[in-house]
Point group: C2
Chain length 274, copies 2
Protein backbone atom coordinates (compact mmCIF):
# COMPACT_ATOMS: atom_id res chain seq x y z
CA UNK A 1 0.00 0.00 0.00
CA UNK A 2 1.21 3.48 -0.89
CA UNK A 3 0.72 6.54 1.28
CA UNK A 4 1.96 10.09 1.30
CA UNK A 5 5.06 10.67 3.37
CA UNK A 6 4.35 12.04 6.84
CA UNK A 7 6.82 14.44 8.48
CA UNK A 8 8.83 13.12 11.43
CA UNK A 9 7.61 14.60 14.73
CA UNK A 10 11.17 15.53 15.83
CA UNK A 11 12.01 18.05 13.12
CA UNK A 12 12.01 21.81 13.62
CA UNK A 13 9.19 23.31 11.51
CA UNK A 14 11.17 26.32 10.28
CA UNK A 15 14.16 24.34 9.06
CA UNK A 16 11.97 21.81 7.35
CA UNK A 17 9.99 24.44 5.50
CA UNK A 18 13.15 26.10 4.12
CA UNK A 19 14.76 22.91 2.86
CA UNK A 20 11.53 21.65 1.43
CA UNK A 21 10.93 24.79 -0.63
CA UNK A 22 14.28 24.78 -2.40
CA UNK A 23 14.24 21.03 -3.05
CA UNK A 24 10.67 21.27 -4.32
CA UNK A 25 11.51 24.17 -6.62
CA UNK A 26 14.39 22.09 -8.01
CA UNK A 27 12.01 19.21 -8.69
CA UNK A 28 9.46 21.60 -10.24
CA UNK A 29 12.16 22.86 -12.64
CA UNK A 30 13.06 19.26 -13.51
CA UNK A 31 9.40 18.36 -14.08
CA UNK A 32 8.92 21.54 -16.12
CA UNK A 33 11.74 20.49 -18.42
CA UNK A 34 10.05 17.08 -18.79
CA UNK A 35 6.72 18.83 -19.56
CA UNK A 36 8.46 20.69 -22.39
CA UNK A 37 9.71 17.45 -23.96
CA UNK A 38 12.99 17.24 -22.04
CA UNK A 39 14.61 20.23 -23.80
CA UNK A 40 13.90 23.98 -23.61
CA UNK A 41 15.39 27.46 -23.53
CA UNK A 42 15.70 29.28 -20.19
CA UNK A 43 12.98 31.72 -21.33
CA UNK A 44 10.50 28.96 -22.19
CA UNK A 45 11.26 27.00 -19.02
CA UNK A 46 10.92 30.07 -16.77
CA UNK A 47 7.59 30.94 -18.37
CA UNK A 48 6.43 27.35 -17.93
CA UNK A 49 7.30 27.09 -14.23
CA UNK A 50 6.22 30.69 -13.52
CA UNK A 51 9.47 31.82 -11.89
CA UNK A 52 11.97 34.54 -12.89
CA UNK A 53 14.69 33.31 -15.23
CA UNK A 54 17.50 34.30 -12.84
CA UNK A 55 15.98 32.02 -10.19
CA UNK A 56 15.35 29.16 -12.62
CA UNK A 57 18.92 29.51 -13.86
CA UNK A 58 20.29 29.02 -10.33
CA UNK A 59 18.35 25.79 -10.05
CA UNK A 60 19.55 24.67 -13.47
CA UNK A 61 23.13 25.14 -12.24
CA UNK A 62 22.36 22.80 -9.32
CA UNK A 63 20.64 20.29 -11.56
CA UNK A 64 23.62 20.50 -13.92
CA UNK A 65 26.10 19.83 -11.12
CA UNK A 66 24.18 16.66 -10.23
CA UNK A 67 24.12 15.49 -13.88
CA UNK A 68 20.34 15.80 -14.26
CA UNK A 69 20.47 18.68 -16.74
CA UNK A 70 22.97 19.66 -19.46
CA UNK A 71 23.18 22.66 -21.73
CA UNK A 72 23.60 22.60 -25.48
CA UNK A 73 26.31 25.16 -26.31
CA UNK A 74 25.09 25.57 -29.90
CA UNK A 75 21.44 26.36 -29.10
CA UNK A 76 21.77 27.39 -25.41
CA UNK A 77 18.90 24.97 -24.68
CA UNK A 78 18.81 23.00 -21.45
CA UNK A 79 18.01 19.32 -21.65
CA UNK A 80 17.51 16.38 -19.29
CA UNK A 81 20.84 14.59 -18.88
CA UNK A 82 22.06 11.05 -18.29
CA UNK A 83 21.27 11.05 -14.56
CA UNK A 84 17.63 11.78 -15.40
CA UNK A 85 17.63 8.72 -17.66
CA UNK A 86 19.27 6.61 -14.96
CA UNK A 87 16.75 7.68 -12.28
CA UNK A 88 13.87 7.02 -14.68
CA UNK A 89 15.17 3.56 -15.51
CA UNK A 90 15.57 2.67 -11.82
CA UNK A 91 11.98 3.88 -11.28
CA UNK A 92 10.71 1.75 -14.17
CA UNK A 93 12.60 -1.36 -13.06
CA UNK A 94 11.14 -1.30 -9.56
CA UNK A 95 7.61 -0.42 -10.72
CA UNK A 96 5.63 -3.58 -10.02
CA UNK A 97 2.02 -3.84 -11.25
CA UNK A 98 1.08 -6.34 -8.56
CA UNK A 99 2.35 -4.17 -5.72
CA UNK A 100 0.91 -1.04 -7.36
CA UNK A 101 -2.50 -2.73 -7.63
CA UNK A 102 -2.84 -3.59 -3.96
CA UNK A 103 -4.53 -0.36 -2.79
CA UNK A 104 -6.98 -0.63 -5.71
CA UNK A 105 -7.91 -4.20 -4.74
CA UNK A 106 -8.64 -3.07 -1.20
CA UNK A 107 -10.68 -0.08 -2.41
CA UNK A 108 -12.73 -2.19 -4.82
CA UNK A 109 -13.40 -4.85 -2.22
CA UNK A 110 -14.48 -2.29 0.38
CA UNK A 111 -16.44 0.11 -1.85
CA UNK A 112 -18.24 -2.48 -3.98
CA UNK A 113 -18.02 -5.60 -1.79
CA UNK A 114 -16.81 -7.64 -4.74
CA UNK A 115 -14.15 -10.29 -5.18
CA UNK A 116 -11.30 -8.80 -7.16
CA UNK A 117 -7.91 -9.91 -8.41
CA UNK A 118 -4.86 -9.07 -10.48
CA UNK A 119 -3.68 -11.43 -13.22
CA UNK A 120 -0.54 -11.43 -15.34
CA UNK A 121 0.09 -13.21 -18.64
CA UNK A 122 1.88 -16.44 -17.70
CA UNK A 123 3.24 -19.03 -20.10
CA UNK A 124 -0.02 -21.02 -19.88
CA UNK A 125 -2.29 -17.96 -20.16
CA UNK A 126 -3.75 -15.27 -17.85
CA UNK A 127 -2.77 -16.25 -14.30
CA UNK A 128 -4.17 -14.86 -11.03
CA UNK A 129 -1.37 -13.52 -8.80
CA UNK A 130 -3.30 -11.50 -6.17
CA UNK A 131 -6.81 -12.12 -4.88
CA UNK A 132 -9.02 -10.14 -2.49
CA UNK A 133 -12.41 -11.28 -1.17
CA UNK A 134 -15.11 -9.36 0.74
CA UNK A 135 -16.37 -10.47 4.16
CA UNK A 136 -19.14 -12.55 2.57
CA UNK A 137 -17.38 -13.97 -0.47
CA UNK A 138 -19.10 -15.50 -3.48
CA UNK A 139 -17.91 -19.09 -3.99
CA UNK A 140 -15.73 -19.34 -7.09
CA UNK A 141 -13.30 -22.05 -8.08
CA UNK A 142 -10.51 -19.64 -9.04
CA UNK A 143 -7.73 -18.48 -6.72
CA UNK A 144 -4.08 -17.36 -6.81
CA UNK A 145 -2.33 -19.53 -9.39
CA UNK A 146 -5.45 -20.23 -11.48
CA UNK A 147 -4.93 -19.95 -15.23
CA UNK A 148 -7.97 -18.42 -16.98
CA UNK A 149 -9.29 -18.69 -20.51
CA UNK A 150 -8.22 -16.03 -23.02
CA UNK A 151 -11.49 -16.23 -24.97
CA UNK A 152 -14.12 -16.91 -22.31
CA UNK A 153 -12.98 -15.08 -19.15
CA UNK A 154 -13.23 -11.29 -18.75
CA UNK A 155 -9.58 -11.27 -17.62
CA UNK A 156 -8.44 -13.18 -20.72
CA UNK A 157 -10.43 -10.92 -23.01
CA UNK A 158 -8.85 -7.80 -21.47
CA UNK A 159 -5.40 -9.26 -22.27
CA UNK A 160 -6.54 -10.35 -25.73
CA UNK A 161 -7.89 -6.89 -26.51
CA UNK A 162 -4.67 -5.08 -25.80
CA UNK A 163 -1.78 -7.56 -26.15
CA UNK A 164 -1.12 -7.66 -29.87
CA UNK A 165 1.51 -10.42 -29.64
CA UNK A 166 2.06 -13.56 -31.66
CA UNK A 167 2.06 -15.90 -28.65
CA UNK A 168 -1.26 -14.48 -27.43
CA UNK A 169 -2.86 -14.81 -30.87
CA UNK A 170 -1.65 -18.41 -31.13
CA UNK A 171 -3.07 -19.20 -27.69
CA UNK A 172 -6.44 -17.67 -28.66
CA UNK A 173 -6.59 -19.67 -31.90
CA UNK A 174 -5.82 -22.87 -30.01
CA UNK A 175 -8.65 -22.19 -27.55
CA UNK A 176 -11.01 -21.46 -30.42
CA UNK A 177 -10.11 -24.71 -32.18
CA UNK A 178 -10.95 -26.74 -29.08
CA UNK A 179 -14.07 -24.77 -28.08
CA UNK A 180 -17.42 -26.52 -27.60
CA UNK A 181 -20.14 -25.55 -30.13
CA UNK A 182 -22.11 -23.57 -27.51
CA UNK A 183 -18.96 -21.59 -26.57
CA UNK A 184 -18.11 -20.96 -30.23
CA UNK A 185 -21.68 -19.77 -30.79
CA UNK A 186 -21.16 -16.87 -28.35
CA UNK A 187 -18.57 -15.29 -30.63
CA UNK A 188 -18.83 -13.61 -34.01
CA UNK A 189 -19.14 -16.29 -36.72
CA UNK A 190 -16.70 -14.76 -39.22
CA UNK A 191 -14.17 -12.83 -37.11
CA UNK A 192 -14.43 -14.38 -33.63
CA UNK A 193 -11.11 -13.08 -32.22
CA UNK A 194 -10.88 -9.75 -34.02
CA UNK A 195 -14.42 -8.71 -33.12
CA UNK A 196 -13.77 -9.64 -29.48
CA UNK A 197 -10.61 -7.49 -29.50
CA UNK A 198 -12.43 -4.54 -31.05
CA UNK A 199 -15.28 -4.70 -28.52
CA UNK A 200 -12.84 -4.74 -25.58
CA UNK A 201 -10.86 -1.80 -26.92
CA UNK A 202 -13.99 0.23 -27.63
CA UNK A 203 -15.27 -0.29 -24.07
CA UNK A 204 -11.88 -0.03 -22.32
CA UNK A 205 -12.81 -3.20 -20.44
CA UNK A 206 -14.16 -6.73 -20.90
CA UNK A 207 -17.46 -7.81 -19.34
CA UNK A 208 -18.80 -11.38 -19.15
CA UNK A 209 -22.03 -12.79 -17.69
CA UNK A 210 -22.24 -16.54 -16.99
CA UNK A 211 -19.80 -17.25 -19.80
CA UNK A 212 -16.74 -18.59 -18.05
CA UNK A 213 -18.16 -19.64 -14.68
CA UNK A 214 -21.84 -20.49 -14.25
CA UNK A 215 -23.65 -17.84 -12.19
CA UNK A 216 -20.65 -15.52 -12.13
CA UNK A 217 -20.22 -12.18 -13.86
CA UNK A 218 -16.94 -10.30 -14.18
CA UNK A 219 -15.47 -7.04 -15.41
CA UNK A 220 -11.77 -6.66 -16.29
CA UNK A 221 -9.61 -3.72 -17.38
CA UNK A 222 -5.99 -3.53 -18.54
CA UNK A 223 -3.09 -2.27 -16.38
CA UNK A 224 -0.41 -0.72 -18.59
CA UNK A 225 3.23 0.13 -17.98
CA UNK A 226 5.34 3.13 -19.02
CA UNK A 227 5.57 1.81 -22.59
CA UNK A 228 1.77 1.51 -22.81
CA UNK A 229 1.98 -2.30 -22.88
CA UNK A 230 -0.54 -4.30 -20.83
CA UNK A 231 1.44 -5.84 -17.97
CA UNK A 232 -1.51 -7.05 -15.86
CA UNK A 233 -5.31 -7.06 -15.73
CA UNK A 234 -7.55 -5.93 -12.86
CA UNK A 235 -10.78 -7.92 -12.50
CA UNK A 236 -13.86 -7.70 -10.27
CA UNK A 237 -16.37 -10.54 -10.09
CA UNK A 238 -19.57 -11.48 -8.28
CA UNK A 239 -22.70 -13.65 -8.40
CA UNK A 240 -24.60 -12.70 -11.54
CA UNK A 241 -27.77 -11.83 -9.58
CA UNK A 242 -26.20 -9.03 -7.57
CA UNK A 243 -23.39 -7.87 -9.85
CA UNK A 244 -23.83 -5.25 -12.56
CA UNK A 245 -21.56 -6.43 -15.38
CA UNK A 246 -22.68 -3.76 -17.87
CA UNK A 247 -19.92 -1.79 -19.60
CA UNK A 248 -21.81 1.35 -18.63
CA UNK A 249 -22.40 0.30 -15.01
CA UNK A 250 -20.71 1.53 -11.83
CA UNK A 251 -18.54 -1.60 -11.37
CA UNK A 252 -17.07 -1.32 -14.87
CA UNK A 253 -16.46 2.40 -14.30
CA UNK A 254 -14.67 1.68 -10.98
CA UNK A 255 -12.53 -1.13 -12.44
CA UNK A 256 -11.53 1.03 -15.44
CA UNK A 257 -10.76 3.99 -13.16
CA UNK A 258 -8.66 1.90 -10.75
CA UNK A 259 -6.79 0.19 -13.60
CA UNK A 260 -6.02 3.59 -15.14
CA UNK A 261 -4.78 4.89 -11.76
CA UNK A 262 -2.48 1.87 -11.34
CA UNK A 263 -1.20 2.40 -14.89
CA UNK A 264 -0.44 6.04 -14.08
CA UNK A 265 1.67 5.04 -11.07
CA UNK A 266 3.61 2.74 -13.44
CA UNK A 267 4.33 5.72 -15.70
CA UNK A 268 1.70 5.04 -18.37
CA UNK A 269 0.59 8.21 -20.12
CA UNK A 270 -1.67 6.67 -22.79
CA UNK A 271 -5.45 6.44 -22.51
CA UNK A 272 -6.75 2.85 -22.23
CA UNK A 273 -9.43 3.00 -24.93
CA UNK A 274 -9.07 2.85 -28.72
Amino acid sequence: MTTTIEPMPTERPRERRQRVQAAETGMAVLKGLADLGGRATLTALSAHVGEPSSKVHRYLVSLGEEGLVSQDAATQQYFLGPEAIRIGMAAMRQADPIRAAEPALVRLREALEVTCFVAVMGNKGPTIVRFEEPGLPVTVNVRVGSVLSLLWSATGRAFLGYLDERAVHAMAKEELASALPEQRGLLDAKRPIDSLREAVRAAGCACVRDVYLRGISAVAAPIRDHTGRVCAVLTALGATGGFDALETGPIAAAVRREAAAISATLGCTEPARG
Copy 2:
Protein backbone atom coordinates in the same frame (compact mmCIF):
# COMPACT_ATOMS: atom_id res chain seq x y z
CA MET B 1 27.99 20.66 -28.10
CA THR B 2 27.41 20.20 -24.40
CA THR B 3 29.00 22.31 -21.70
CA THR B 4 28.59 22.71 -17.96
CA ILE B 5 26.20 25.46 -16.95
CA GLU B 6 27.92 28.71 -15.97
CA PRO B 7 26.39 30.92 -13.25
CA MET B 8 24.86 34.22 -14.34
CA PRO B 9 27.07 37.18 -13.35
CA THR B 10 24.11 39.07 -11.83
CA GLU B 11 23.28 36.71 -9.01
CA ARG B 12 24.22 37.25 -5.38
CA PRO B 13 26.76 34.59 -4.39
CA ARG B 14 25.32 33.87 -0.95
CA GLU B 15 21.76 33.35 -2.13
CA ARG B 16 22.88 31.15 -4.97
CA ARG B 17 24.95 28.95 -2.68
CA GLN B 18 22.01 28.39 -0.29
CA ARG B 19 19.51 27.48 -2.95
CA VAL B 20 21.99 25.32 -4.79
CA GLN B 21 22.80 23.31 -1.69
CA ALA B 22 19.23 22.33 -0.89
CA ALA B 23 18.34 21.55 -4.51
CA GLU B 24 21.51 19.54 -4.92
CA THR B 25 20.88 17.58 -1.74
CA GLY B 26 17.39 16.80 -3.04
CA MET B 27 18.91 15.51 -6.28
CA ALA B 28 21.53 13.51 -4.35
CA VAL B 29 18.73 11.79 -2.39
CA LEU B 30 16.91 11.04 -5.65
CA LYS B 31 20.11 9.66 -7.23
CA GLY B 32 20.84 7.68 -4.06
CA LEU B 33 17.45 6.00 -4.32
CA ALA B 34 18.25 5.14 -7.97
CA ASP B 35 21.65 3.73 -6.88
CA LEU B 36 19.81 1.42 -4.48
CA GLY B 37 17.59 0.05 -7.25
CA GLY B 38 14.82 2.63 -6.93
CA ARG B 39 13.53 1.36 -3.55
CA ALA B 40 15.07 1.51 -0.06
CA THR B 41 14.43 2.04 3.64
CA LEU B 42 15.22 5.43 5.19
CA THR B 43 18.09 3.80 7.10
CA ALA B 44 19.69 2.33 3.98
CA LEU B 45 19.20 5.52 1.97
CA SER B 46 20.64 7.74 4.72
CA ALA B 47 23.68 5.49 5.02
CA HIS B 48 24.12 5.55 1.25
CA VAL B 49 23.98 9.35 0.88
CA GLY B 50 25.94 9.92 4.10
CA GLU B 51 23.41 12.25 5.75
CA PRO B 52 21.41 11.91 9.00
CA SER B 53 18.07 10.18 8.52
CA SER B 54 16.08 13.15 9.87
CA LYS B 55 17.59 15.33 7.13
CA VAL B 56 17.07 12.72 4.40
CA HIS B 57 13.49 12.31 5.58
CA ARG B 58 12.80 16.05 5.10
CA TYR B 59 14.01 15.77 1.52
CA LEU B 60 11.91 12.66 0.95
CA VAL B 61 8.85 14.66 2.05
CA SER B 62 9.68 17.25 -0.62
CA LEU B 63 10.31 14.60 -3.24
CA GLY B 64 7.03 12.96 -2.24
CA GLU B 65 5.11 16.21 -2.60
CA GLU B 66 6.41 16.56 -6.16
CA GLY B 67 5.48 12.94 -7.02
CA LEU B 68 9.07 11.76 -7.47
CA VAL B 69 9.07 9.45 -4.44
CA SER B 70 6.34 7.37 -2.77
CA GLN B 71 6.33 5.30 0.40
CA ASP B 72 5.14 1.74 0.71
CA ALA B 73 2.93 1.60 3.82
CA ALA B 74 3.46 -2.15 4.26
CA THR B 75 7.28 -2.13 4.22
CA GLN B 76 7.95 1.57 5.02
CA GLN B 77 10.30 1.59 2.02
CA TYR B 78 10.62 4.65 -0.18
CA PHE B 79 10.54 4.17 -3.93
CA LEU B 80 10.87 6.24 -7.09
CA GLY B 81 7.39 7.28 -8.18
CA PRO B 82 5.56 8.02 -11.45
CA GLU B 83 7.10 11.49 -11.89
CA ALA B 84 10.57 9.91 -11.85
CA ILE B 85 9.44 7.60 -14.67
CA ARG B 86 7.96 10.52 -16.60
CA ILE B 87 11.15 12.62 -16.28
CA GLY B 88 13.27 9.65 -17.33
CA MET B 89 11.10 8.99 -20.36
CA ALA B 90 11.29 12.64 -21.44
CA ALA B 91 15.08 12.44 -21.04
CA MET B 92 15.25 9.27 -23.15
CA ARG B 93 13.00 10.65 -25.89
CA GLN B 94 15.10 13.75 -26.40
CA ALA B 95 18.45 11.90 -26.13
CA ASP B 96 19.81 12.06 -29.68
CA PRO B 97 22.95 10.09 -30.55
CA ILE B 98 23.84 12.46 -33.39
CA ARG B 99 23.66 15.58 -31.26
CA ALA B 100 25.37 13.78 -28.36
CA ALA B 101 28.22 12.73 -30.68
CA GLU B 102 29.09 16.23 -31.89
CA PRO B 103 31.62 17.14 -29.18
CA ALA B 104 33.34 13.76 -29.71
CA LEU B 105 33.63 14.36 -33.45
CA VAL B 106 35.27 17.73 -32.80
CA ARG B 107 37.64 16.25 -30.21
CA LEU B 108 38.68 13.36 -32.48
CA ARG B 109 39.24 15.67 -35.43
CA GLU B 110 41.33 18.08 -33.36
CA ALA B 111 43.29 15.60 -31.26
CA LEU B 112 44.05 13.02 -33.97
CA GLU B 113 43.58 15.10 -37.16
CA VAL B 114 41.39 12.39 -38.64
CA THR B 115 38.19 12.41 -40.63
CA CYS B 116 35.40 11.13 -38.45
CA PHE B 117 31.68 10.59 -38.73
CA VAL B 118 28.53 9.22 -37.11
CA ALA B 119 26.37 6.70 -38.94
CA VAL B 120 22.94 5.29 -38.12
CA MET B 121 21.30 2.13 -39.45
CA GLY B 122 19.07 3.29 -42.31
CA ASN B 123 16.72 1.13 -44.37
CA LYS B 124 19.45 0.60 -46.98
CA GLY B 125 22.24 -0.05 -44.45
CA PRO B 126 24.69 1.99 -42.32
CA THR B 127 24.22 5.65 -43.35
CA ILE B 128 26.50 8.61 -42.58
CA VAL B 129 24.57 11.41 -40.87
CA ARG B 130 27.34 13.69 -39.51
CA PHE B 131 30.82 14.17 -40.94
CA GLU B 132 33.85 16.12 -39.66
CA GLU B 133 37.11 16.66 -41.58
CA PRO B 134 40.45 18.03 -40.41
CA GLY B 135 42.10 21.06 -42.05
CA LEU B 136 43.98 18.84 -44.49
CA PRO B 137 41.40 16.19 -45.29
CA VAL B 138 42.12 12.85 -46.89
CA THR B 139 40.10 12.45 -50.09
CA VAL B 140 37.34 9.87 -49.65
CA ASN B 141 34.22 9.31 -51.69
CA VAL B 142 31.90 9.04 -48.68
CA ARG B 143 29.96 11.94 -47.19
CA VAL B 144 26.70 12.65 -45.33
CA GLY B 145 24.04 10.42 -46.88
CA SER B 146 26.47 7.71 -48.03
CA VAL B 147 25.30 4.15 -47.34
CA LEU B 148 28.18 1.87 -46.33
CA SER B 149 28.69 -1.87 -46.56
CA LEU B 150 27.75 -3.99 -43.55
CA LEU B 151 30.45 -6.59 -44.25
CA TRP B 152 33.34 -4.57 -45.67
CA SER B 153 33.28 -1.19 -43.92
CA ALA B 154 34.43 -0.70 -40.32
CA THR B 155 31.16 1.16 -39.63
CA GLY B 156 29.07 -1.69 -41.01
CA ARG B 157 31.01 -4.25 -39.03
CA ALA B 158 30.47 -2.30 -35.80
CA PHE B 159 26.70 -2.42 -36.45
CA LEU B 160 26.88 -6.08 -37.45
CA GLY B 161 28.78 -6.99 -34.29
CA TYR B 162 26.22 -5.56 -31.92
CA LEU B 163 22.87 -5.39 -33.71
CA ASP B 164 21.46 -8.89 -33.38
CA GLU B 165 18.40 -8.22 -35.52
CA ARG B 166 16.80 -10.22 -38.31
CA ALA B 167 16.87 -7.36 -40.84
CA VAL B 168 20.59 -6.81 -40.23
CA HIS B 169 21.38 -10.52 -40.61
CA ALA B 170 19.36 -10.65 -43.84
CA MET B 171 21.25 -7.62 -45.19
CA ALA B 172 24.60 -9.21 -44.31
CA LYS B 173 23.67 -12.49 -46.02
CA GLU B 174 22.59 -10.61 -49.12
CA GLU B 175 25.94 -8.77 -49.27
CA LEU B 176 27.79 -12.03 -48.80
CA ALA B 177 25.87 -13.69 -51.63
CA SER B 178 26.84 -10.92 -54.04
CA ALA B 179 30.48 -10.54 -52.85
CA LEU B 180 33.38 -10.82 -55.28
CA PRO B 181 35.69 -13.82 -54.67
CA GLU B 182 38.52 -11.58 -53.37
CA GLN B 183 36.12 -9.92 -50.86
CA ARG B 184 34.74 -13.29 -49.78
CA GLY B 185 38.31 -14.56 -49.31
CA LEU B 186 38.91 -11.95 -46.58
CA LEU B 187 36.33 -13.58 -44.32
CA ASP B 188 36.28 -16.87 -42.46
CA ALA B 189 35.46 -19.68 -44.90
CA LYS B 190 32.97 -21.55 -42.71
CA ARG B 191 31.40 -18.90 -40.49
CA PRO B 192 31.97 -15.60 -42.33
CA ILE B 193 29.38 -13.48 -40.51
CA ASP B 194 29.53 -15.07 -37.06
CA SER B 195 33.33 -14.89 -36.84
CA LEU B 196 33.21 -11.23 -37.93
CA ARG B 197 30.66 -10.52 -35.19
CA GLU B 198 32.73 -12.30 -32.56
CA ALA B 199 35.92 -10.43 -33.51
CA VAL B 200 34.16 -7.03 -33.30
CA ARG B 201 32.64 -7.84 -29.92
CA ALA B 202 35.94 -9.09 -28.52
CA ALA B 203 37.75 -5.90 -29.60
CA GLY B 204 34.92 -3.49 -28.77
CA CYS B 205 35.47 -1.96 -32.22
CA ALA B 206 35.90 -2.81 -35.90
CA CYS B 207 39.12 -2.02 -37.77
CA VAL B 208 39.66 -2.26 -41.52
CA ARG B 209 42.73 -1.55 -43.70
CA ASP B 210 42.25 -1.05 -47.47
CA VAL B 211 39.21 -3.33 -47.41
CA TYR B 212 36.32 -1.04 -48.22
CA LEU B 213 38.11 1.92 -49.80
CA ARG B 214 41.53 1.52 -51.43
CA GLY B 215 44.25 3.27 -49.40
CA ILE B 216 41.88 4.06 -46.52
CA SER B 217 41.88 2.59 -43.03
CA ALA B 218 39.09 3.03 -40.50
CA VAL B 219 38.16 2.27 -36.92
CA ALA B 220 34.53 2.19 -35.72
CA ALA B 221 32.90 1.68 -32.32
CA PRO B 222 29.25 1.33 -31.27
CA ILE B 223 27.18 4.08 -29.64
CA ARG B 224 24.51 2.54 -27.40
CA ASP B 225 21.36 3.95 -25.88
CA HIS B 226 19.78 3.48 -22.45
CA THR B 227 18.58 -0.02 -23.38
CA GLY B 228 22.11 -1.03 -24.43
CA ARG B 229 21.04 -1.20 -28.09
CA VAL B 230 23.43 0.19 -30.74
CA CYS B 231 21.76 3.34 -32.06
CA ALA B 232 24.72 4.74 -34.02
CA VAL B 233 28.38 4.07 -34.82
CA LEU B 234 31.32 6.46 -34.41
CA THR B 235 34.05 6.04 -37.06
CA ALA B 236 37.49 7.60 -37.65
CA LEU B 237 39.30 7.14 -40.97
CA GLY B 238 42.51 8.20 -42.69
CA ALA B 239 45.00 7.34 -45.45
CA THR B 240 46.42 3.91 -44.64
CA GLY B 241 50.02 5.20 -44.63
CA GLY B 242 49.52 7.60 -41.73
CA PHE B 243 46.65 6.01 -39.84
CA ASP B 244 47.10 3.38 -37.14
CA ALA B 245 44.12 1.05 -37.58
CA LEU B 246 45.28 -1.53 -35.03
CA GLU B 247 42.76 -2.57 -32.39
CA THR B 248 45.43 -1.89 -29.79
CA GLY B 249 46.47 1.48 -31.26
CA PRO B 250 45.74 4.99 -29.96
CA ILE B 251 43.07 5.78 -32.59
CA ALA B 252 41.06 2.66 -31.73
CA ALA B 253 41.40 3.51 -28.03
CA ALA B 254 40.18 7.09 -28.62
CA VAL B 255 37.23 6.00 -30.79
CA ARG B 256 36.17 3.36 -28.24
CA ARG B 257 36.51 5.87 -25.39
CA GLU B 258 34.51 8.58 -27.18
CA ALA B 259 31.80 6.11 -28.24
CA ALA B 260 31.50 4.91 -24.64
CA ALA B 261 31.26 8.51 -23.39
CA ILE B 262 28.48 9.29 -25.90
CA SER B 263 26.69 6.10 -24.83
CA ALA B 264 26.91 7.20 -21.19
CA THR B 265 25.26 10.55 -21.98
CA LEU B 266 22.44 8.55 -23.63
CA GLY B 267 21.95 6.60 -20.40
CA CYS B 268 23.80 3.41 -21.37
CA THR B 269 25.19 1.58 -18.37
CA GLU B 270 26.49 -1.56 -20.11
CA PRO B 271 30.11 -2.09 -21.14
CA ALA B 272 30.64 -2.21 -24.93
CA ARG B 273 32.68 -5.41 -25.09
CA GLY B 274 31.58 -9.02 -24.85
